[in-house]
């Protein structure tokens, strides 16, 4: 080893020159980045490494948790009473709706059987807690406290009581990483609740989302609610996602710039629901699509 910029006499045994080592490590880092970003081949290394670091990480959370607990300790009793009261009122309101909903769901199921339509999948899930927001400032990721051991898989959808929050992108042994909808690399297929117009909603990165590639004369208004369309086979249909807040009709652009705010408390921490992954759509059996039949079908159409 030699200090950088200071050549030792040649009779000392020394390793490769600093510049060579620098180039080696830079090449290694860039290879890793490409392998991770482009080919997603490093998930197993990540999994092992998180398992190794887990105890230290747990220890690092202690001060934050302690601060949290102290904060809880100094809550006024009147505040707690008020909160309980409001929760009870809300529960009564929700109970009225729930009773009706159960009835409606049964009715809907019977009607669907009568009409010979596919059953809607019911939403089951498990409750998880957002532990912390990942430090990486370039993306919007949070960590939840359930992982592979609780059966959480990558691709599952996270919702809170108002709407969709995001999607699990990596599942570790005891934790899972969730990409929020506002992340720039996240997209979700939606439709406008008012008129059923379908589109794809992209994260804009700054706590907002945007509807891209809708022409300037599309029927979208400020205040429209966007719900999932369910076309992707991942998100269940009908979950509220965002509300349109601003529409810019700029003549220089071919498309309208539509900014939306998430409905769910995406940037807040708290309890969330991890929905079970959606059952894949059953495609029609292959015999039905055999070329003869297709030809036959075409002839009939003519």
């Amino acid at each position: 080893m030699s200090a950088i910029g200071h050549e030792p006499p040649p009779f000392f045994n020394r390793g490769p020159a600093p510049l060579v080592r620098l180039l080696f490590f830079v090449a290694a880092s860039i290879t890793l980045m490409v392998a991770d970003l482009r080919f997603h081949t490093l998930e197993w290394t990540r999994l092992t490494a998180t398992n190794l670091v887990w105890p230290i990480q747990r220890a690092a959370w202690l001060p934050i948790q302690a601060a949290d607990n102290i904060g809880h300790y100094f809550i006024r009793q009147s505040d707690l009473q008020a909160e309980t009261e409001s929760l009870q009122q809300e529960r009564m309101k929700a109970a009225r709706l729930l009773l009706r909903q159960r009835h409606l769901e049964d009715e809907n199921q019977r009607l669907r059987v009568l009409l010979d339509m596919k059953m809607r999948q019911s939403t089951n899930g498990q409750i998880a807690e957002i532990i912390y927001a990942a430090r990486d400032p370039f993306s919007r990721h949070v960590i939840i406290d359930k992982g592979l051991q609780q059966g959480i898989q990558a691709g599952q959808v996270i919702v809170d009581e108002h709407g969709v929050i995001g999607q699990v992108i990596r599942s570790f042994a005891r934790t899972a990483e969730v990409s929020l909808l506002t992340d720039k690399r996240q997209a979700i297929p939606v439709q406008v609740q008012r008129n059923g117009l379908r589109s794809v909603l992209f994260g804009a990165g700054n706590g907002r989302m945007e509807l891209r590639f809708l022409s300037a004369d599309t029927d979208v208004q400020v205040g429209d609610i966007l719900v999932t369309s369910g076309l992707d086979g991942i998100y269940l249909a009908g979950l509220p996602v965002a509300k349109v807040t601003k529409i810019d009709h700029d003549n220089t652009y071919f498309f309208a710039r539509i900014t939306c705010d998430p409905v769910a408390g995406i940037e807040h921490h708290g309890l969330v629901l991890v929905l079970d992954s959606r059952k894949p759509l059953v495609l029609p059996p292959i015999e039905e699509l055999s070329p003869e039949k297709l030809k036959h079908g075409r002839k009939e159409k003519r």
């Binding site: 980045m33 990540r46 690092a60």
Partner: protein, 174 residues
């Protein structure tokens, strides 16, 4: 007391390997505390790494930076290699400056450290922006400034085990 360790004219004891490893692990632990989007939290690993690369360039170098960077990438849920790249450059630059910087008074050393940390952040920014991430805002660079402010206490904290009791012996002037 705003003197550099070199111009203090005190002979330091040799640095102990276990102490170096321990401080690097402590920095990793501090970096793991989840502050969320709280601004201005210094990158402890970068600071401690720069410190040891300046003071002990033969013991701590680019390989330490690489390994710590990979650990940070896992903990941070960022792209693998992002921190590694920045820390390797940081270690290289700090070791290259090591013979010069230590002769400056501490506040001037802090200016050097500020530039080094900003450079490290810039490398991370460029690497991520090239891969299509969004700009985190200028306030993200605040952590380098808080780190530079902490250089003064950090130097005394990390050099403390190497100081030996001052005994005035007039027969031996050093």
């Amino acid at each position: 007391m705003m003197e550099s360790p070199h111009s203090m004219r005190r002979i330091l004891l040799p640095a102990k390997n276990w102490f170096i490893v321990m401080t690097l692990c402590a920095a990793l632990l501090l970096n793991m505390i989840p502050f969320g989007y709280f601004l201005g939290i210094p990158d402890w690993i970068a600071l401690v790494l720069v410190f040891w690369c300046l003071h002990q360039p033969l013991k701590v170098g680019m390989s330490a930076g690489f390994i710590l960077g990979l650990l940070m990438d896992v903990v941070d849920a960022s792209v693998m290699g992002q921190h590694a790249l920045a820390y390797v450059f940081l270690a290289y630059a700090a070791a290259a400056l090591s013979r010069r910087v230590l002769w400056f008074p501490l506040w001037q050393q802090a200016l050097h450290v500020l530039l080094l940390c900003l450079g490290g952040q810039l490398i991370m920014l460029i690497a991520r922006m090239l891969s299509g991430a969004d700009f985190p805002g200028l306030s993200w660079f605040l952590s380098s400034f808080t780190g530079a402010l902490l250089w003064y206490p950090l130097t005394y904290l990390l050099l403390a085990p190497q100081f030996q009791p001052q005994e005035k012996d007039f027969h031996r002037p050093i």
